[in-house]
């Protein structure tokens, strides 16, 4: 269909324009999902065509920042997939302990739920004090939210069950203060967390790490970009370091399939081989 074909051309041009103007690189994102999100943004911004949206985005950086909120997917929860965190606690923590100091990279940390989950787990295992966590994302607004560590009480009540199933050892309420329907996370949890703007599409490795957690990020990338990201993780990880992915993500079909070995396969925990 002609209009459908036009839309696909316009989307490619928009993505190219964003890259040229703002250096955000969505060129190797999975097409179907990015198309949906752009068309969704189109309706929210009352633009009739993607070309009209492109004109506004190109001439108005504030407009781009608004569009970026549609292009990134801030879906996250604390202790998402509790069995994954239980496996981290039981299978990975005993091995992590053998390093005198630990560096962890949470890539695509979004609004921070994964960061606080990891910090809580490490504190309960007595490792938080000797760990540095790098939490990175491409969306500055998400990073701000992550730094603030304020979540709705309603979602915290949902996370409480996750926390328990993930092998949590204390009362989940000890980790936050409730106020005005919100929960403010214990700020000491992020004493050793560095939040930073980092793109898996355009930036390079910044530190050696013992563990990289990148969950439900790779699914938004095409195979080439998945390989680039896995390459960064491989380069960042020390000898026998750990890579943890989302529940439906794998290294199996990537260029790095023989450079990681599964440690707990159903929980998507891999080890640099």
């Amino acid at each position: 269909m002609t209009s459908e074909r036009n839309t696909d051309i316009e989307i490619r041009l928009l993505i190219e324009a964003i890259y040229l103007k703002y250096s955000y690189d969505f060129r190797n994102y999975s097409g179907a999902s990015i198309k949906r999100r752009i068309l969704h943004a189109l309706r929210q911004f009352d633009c009739l065509t993607v070309s009209a949206l492109q004109e506004r985005v190109l001439h108005d950086p504030g407009m781009f920042m608004q569009l970026l909120q549609f292009l990134t997917i801030p879906v996250s929860e604390m202790f998402r997939d509790p069995s994954h965190f239980l496996a981290l606690r039981n299978e990975v923590v005993p091995l992590l302990r053998t390093w005198p100091s630990i560096k962890i990279w949470i890539a695509g940390c979004s609004t921070g739920e994964e960061v606080y989950s990891m910090a809580i787990l490490l504190r309960e295992e007595g490792l938080l004090e000797r760990t540095i966590i790098y939490a990175t994302d491409i969306n500055p607004r998400s990073l701000d939210k992550a730094k603030q560590g304020i979540y709705s009480m309603q979602s915290m009540r949902e996370y409480e069950e996750n926390y328990r199933l993930a092998g949590g050892r204390r009362d989940f309420t000890e980790y936050y203060t409730a106020a005005y329907g919100n929960a403010i996370m214990d700020s000491t949890l992020r004493d050793n967390v560095t939040f930073a703007d980092h793109s898996l599409a355009t930036d390079s490795v910044f530190s050696e790490t013992q563990l990289v957690s990148c969950r439900n990020v790779l699914i938004y990338f095409n195979k080439d970009l998945q390989d680039r990201a896995l390459g960064l993780f491989h380069e960042s990880l020390c000898h026998r370091g750990f890579l943890v992915l989302g529940s439906k993500e794998s290294v199996d079909f990537s260029a790095y399939s023989d450079r990681f070995e599964p440690l707990v396969k159903p929980e998507r925990i891999f080890r640099k081989s």
Partner: protein
């Protein structure tokens, strides 16, 4: 109309039984890939692929991210993730917000598959208790594909087929056994 290169099926309440009936009569040599979205509880250890494979005695796979769609296979969406078809005929997963309270959403599969396969797609919408899939099925039709809606009188829950019929006139309105026959003769009639 060109030959059908892929089939997409959406169903909700009563969908598992309906799938058994629709896919139960496929001839052994049926090669056209079939991709299904069923609304199921958000439990990632869904056994649907195994159950279907045993029941149909055909290879059924749970859809994996960036997996190329292969001839002769039936794919089912994994709970908790949207399932799309990319333009290179691979599958992709995503976690955008639920649509009509559903993730996977039938609409997302139908829209993306129509964009990829154009007039080579056959879309089938079965029983269900919400409106997911109606817009997607109309988009398949608008993209040149062929559409089938289960006869609401034959459906365990009529709302989903009725919503589809309110949006567009499909090529066929059939009972489950009628849809099964259509699929069983699909490849013979395309030659």
């Amino acid at each position: 109309m060109n030959g059908v290169r892929a089939v997409v099926i959406g169903a909700s309440a009563g969908g598992v039984q309906a799938l058994f009936q629709v896919l139960g009569g496929l001839p052994p040599g049926f090669v056209t890939p079939v991709v299904c979205v069923l609304h199921l509880p958000d439990d990632r250890h869904s056994q649907l692929a195994e159950v279907l494979q045993r029941r149909l005695n055909r290879p059924v796979r749970e859809a994996c991210d960036k997996q190329a769609i292969e001839a002769g296979l039936i794919y089912v969406a994994t709970p908790g993730y949207h399932l799309s078809v990319e333009n290179d005929f691979s599958l992709s997963l995503s976690q955008e917000d639920p649509v009509h309270f559903s993730r996977p959403a039938i609409d997302f599969l139908f829209f993306s598959a129509a964009d990829a396969y154009g007039d080579g797609l056959l879309g089938i919408l079965l029983t269900g208790a919400n409106e997911d899939g109606a817009k997607g099925l109309a988009h398949i039709k608008n993209s040149g594909g062929r559409t089938v809606v289960q006869d609401p009188r034959d459906a365990q829950v009529a709302l989903m087929p009725e919503a589809a019929l309110a949006l567009h006139q499909p090529d066929h309105i059939l009972t489950l056994s009628g849809i099964g026959q259509l699929l069983a003769t699909l490849e013979a009639s395309a030659c």
